[in-house]
């Protein structure tokens, strides 16, 4: 069951090529950030595919992005330069961090792709003004897509797009819900594999499979003790070897806050009122990426209490804060987040990530952190 999702994740490129064969009038769009309104793409019968790295040293990217850009965005560009995404009909981004925007900009110039689009996602997302501004952006985006695919996007189409996305969000939340149990039916690696797959494949197909999985979950259990209940927090993370490493030494990830995890699907779209406005509201109200996590009138962040709530609901014993090297938005928040969580009696450990994981060096840190969390066994 889970194996299938892993397959989709591993064979993401052949999947997309296959999809094109079966959807001759459809287009495959590679996107750089989860602020991209996939609803509109599904409405236009496009397949949104998130561009992710290959976890290899991004040696092809060096001439286009020097070392100070985050390894993930360099890895993404490397994948494009290597021709792994040659099947894309278009690429797009929604305004987010400068690293992704740098990779996108270089891609536009260096990797021939027929169509590209930049959705100017506003930053002051907590304001009503931003929702109004984004509505205008989405209207323009919708027009651009219509012109590109040569087909009008009707309200019915939009409803379909919204429904596909909402269903997926709804189902994924159910899957995550099950991880609150004392013995979660699936590991953190497995849970996040589901999310990774959802960003790479047709959500309609994904939804069917997740529904099946949900039927199986009640009689599914781990082949081991769950051990320490951990939460993992950070930016993009599809680092299977690392997740597996941690879960192989006496711990289980029961919840996460990643844009490749819960942050991606957590918030659903209200299905009342103007459709585009509903979409705009959702992307403004969603759990923010740190780049957009500021408010007018207070320096406090919206994401922190959300993370704390998750940590409590999922009875987390410790949090691993993943700091993607050079990822400014998260690096700005991490010292504060660490203090915030520790202030609420939740131990944290910060790890700096690169494209490849130095297993030897990480293992000892994680083992020590886990020992710290279960020190009583050694002492009393």
């Amino acid at each position: 069951m889970i194996e299938e999702f892993k397959q989709w994740y591993d064979d993401r490129h052949s999947y997309a090529k296959e999809w094109k064969k079966n959807n001759l009038d459809g287009k495959v769009v590679g996107y750089f950030c989860t602020y991209v309104p996939e609803e509109i793409l599904y409405a236009a019968n496009c397949l949104p595919v998130r561009i992710i790295g290959g976890h290899e040293p991004p040696t092809l990217a060096t001439p286009h992005m020097f070392d100070m850009w985050c390894p993930f965005s360099r890895d993404c560009l490397s994948q494009g330069l290597a021709g792994n995404y040659d099947y894309l009909d278009g690429i797009m981004i929604a305004q987010c961090c400068l690293h992704a925007r740098q990779a996108f900009g270089a891609w536009q110039l260096q990797v021939p792709t027929p169509w590209s689009y930049y959705v100017c996602m506003p930053n002051a997302v907590t304001t009503s003004h931003a929702k109004k501004f984004l509505l205008g952006e989405l209207a323009e985006f919708k027009k651009a897509v219509e012109a590109w695919v040569g087909k009008k996007i009707t309200d019915a189409d939009l409803d379909r797009g919204i429904d596909i996305m909402n269903t997926n969000r709804h189902l994924m939340k159910k899957v995550y819900e099950s991880r609150k149990e004392d013995n979660p039916p699936l590991t953190g690696t497995e849970a996040m594999t589901l999310v990774w797959a959802s960003q790479l494949m047709d959500k309609r197909e994904h939804n069917v499979l997740v529904e099946e999985l949900l039927r199986d979950l009640p009689n599914r259990e781990l082949d081991r003790e769950p051990g320490i209940r951990l939460m993992i927090v950070g930016s993009e993370n599809d680092d299977r070897p690392f997740m597996e490493l941690v879960e192989s030494i006496g711990a289980t990830f029961v919840i996460d806050d990643h844009c490749t995890g819960s942050r991606y699907f957590w918030d659903e779209i209200a299905t009342t009122g103007d459709r585009l406005q509903a979409i705009a509201d959702r992307y403004c109200d969603r759990v923010p990426c740190p780049t957009k996590d500021f408010q007018q009138e207070t320096w406090e962040r919206k994401r922190f209490p959300h993370i704390l709530t998750l940590a409590k609901e999922y009875r987390v014993q410790g949090v691993i804060l993943v700091q993607q090297k050079f990822c400014d938005p998260h690096e700005c928040d991490i010292p504060s987040l660490k203090r915030y969580l520790e202030g609420n009696e939740i131990p944290c450990y910060v790890l700096e990530f690169e494209v490849t994981v130095p297993v030897g060096q990480f293992r000892i840190r994680i083992e020590a952190f886990i020992e710290q969390l279960r020190a009583d066994e050694l002492f009393d």
Binding site: L98, A106, L109, C120, H129, Q296, K325, D328
Partner: protein, 438 residues
């Protein structure tokens, strides 16, 4: 025998004096019943500076840069940010220096950290909104914070919708400032500040345009100390006057009389991003070869407003006087302010795509007649370092020899002077085939 005559700037002293007064005023403001606010070089100082009574701002980037000029402070502040606060070492180096200054409760211009009465910030790169969010947290988290968004798209895509979004936020900002300070924003002051903002930004752009002349009247090293005033308080009467009535006429006069920045100018180079502030002597080294750095998108448009005219040339953005506009009221003032910043601050364009950076900088290379480019791959500022490698390729394609070197504007631990000088020597002597001026 030198090729051209040279001469120091007469208005140099005045620039220095204005700069020192700014930091002094910020420190002393409360003792005179004045208010203090923190913001950035881009956060529309025309608005908070329109408050009734005395008010002074602290501009975060120039403050970070002035720390960078002092190696001892720089390292101590960086280490405080990384050690005491625990931030990553690869973050914006201005920001780390600033945080360290707060963490150590130390003002680079003497005395303890001067707490602000409120924060009025804008968001354009990943760090701006976070900068003072964290600084205030380090400082105890009691300063009222307001951050508005100007990331609405490149200069050539600015319409009513974009302007409306920013103006709407500014109205909220005014309400916020009035509420937290208990003082009013004075309409007359606001209108005057907007006139001044236009004058500062447009006359700096006009001054930069004069540098197309051969010999160049200004070298980049000098320009750094001149644009800084605009990055401190462009809405300030004295500063606007400085740009319009002192600097611009003097540079014009230098062009007319062929007064050069570098006596033996024979090679004009283009720069990119901020320099490593602790090592401006690099420019002196270049002068030995008759090389003068004459242009840099950053140096021009950090404050200078420019536009692309119908012929596709970069030209200064017109002042309100030139546009024949008289500001009617508060709303008119706000709209003009936003329009100028969104349409005129070309430095923001590269945030929206490498094609913008390439287009604007290759224009500069042509119009300012640059023979070569020396690009500082600035590990300290991802904003100005956007698309630098794409730019290298674009310039080489148009036949401009380019060298790059990695460094950091405000963290000397990331700058290896010996190695960089070796690279520059190689580039200058081998690729450009220049010899030292006898």
């Amino acid at each position: 025998m030198a090729k051209y005559k040279t001469k120091g700037l007469d208005c140099w002293k005045r620039a220095k004096e204005l700069r020192n007064r700014y930091y002094k005023d910020y420190k002393e403001s409360p003792s005179r019943g004045g208010l203090r606010w923190e913001g950035g070089a881009w956060s529309f100082d025309a608005i908070p500076q329109a408050l009734e009574g005395e008010v002074h701002g602290l501009s975060e980037e120039p403050y970070g840069a002035s720390i960078a000029h002092n190696p001892e402070l720089q390292v101590r502040y960086q280490e405080a940010a990384e050690g005491k606060w625990g931030c990553a070492r690869d973050l914006c180096s201005y920001m780390r220096a600033y945080w360290g200054s707060v963490a150590l409760n130390e003002y680079a211009y003497g005395g303890p950290w001067p707490h602000a009465d409120f924060i009025f910030q804008n968001q354009i790169c990943c760090c701006h909104s976070k900068w003072l969010q964290v600084a205030d947290e380090i400082d105890g988290g009691t300063t009222p914070y307001f951050c508005f968004d100007v990331g609405v798209g490149p200069y050539d895509k600015i319409g009513d919708r974009q302007i409306e979004y920013v103006v709407a936020q500014l109205y909220d900002g005014i309400a916020f400032i009035e509420r937290v300070t208990g003082r009013k924003i004075i309409e007359e002051k606001l209108i005057q500040n907007v006139y001044n903002t236009y004058r500062s930004n447009c006359y700096w752009a006009k001054t930069c345009e004069l540098n197309q002349a051969i010999p160049a009247p200004l070298d980049e090293k000098t320009m750094f100390s001149l644009y800084v005033l605009g990055s401190l308080e462009k809405s300030n009467q004295a500063i606007a006057d400085f740009y319009e009535k002192e600097l611009y006429p003097e540079v014009k006069d230098r062009v007319a009389n062929k007064i050069a920045a570098v006596a033996d100018e024979r090679c004009r180079v283009l720069g990119d991003s901020q320099p490593p502030w602790g090592f401006l002597r690099i420019y002196r080294y270049l002068e030995q070869y008759g090389i003068v750095s004459v242009a840099n998108l950053y140096t021009f448009s950090l404050i200078g407003w420019m536009k692309v005219d119908e012929k596709g040339h970069l030209v200064p953005y017109p002042t309100l006087e030139e546009q024949g506009i008289t500001i009617k009221d508060r709303d008119h003032a706000l709209r003009l302010l936003v329009e100028g910043e969104l349409k005129g601050k070309l430095m923001w364009a590269p945030f929206y795509g490498a094609n913008y950076k390439n287009d604007l900088v290759t224009k500069i290379a042509k119009q300012w007649r640059c023979d070569a480019a020396i690009i500082h791959l600035n590990r300290g500022c991802e904003g100005t370092a956007q698309h630098q490698m794409q730019l290298k390729i674009a310039l080489q394609e148009m036949g401009v020899p380019v060298m790059t070197f990695e460094g950091n504007m405000a963290d000397e631990r990331e700058f290896d002077e010996g190695r960089v000088l070796r690279l520059i020597e190689l580039f200058v002597t081998e690729t450009l085939g220049l010899k030292k001026v006898a």
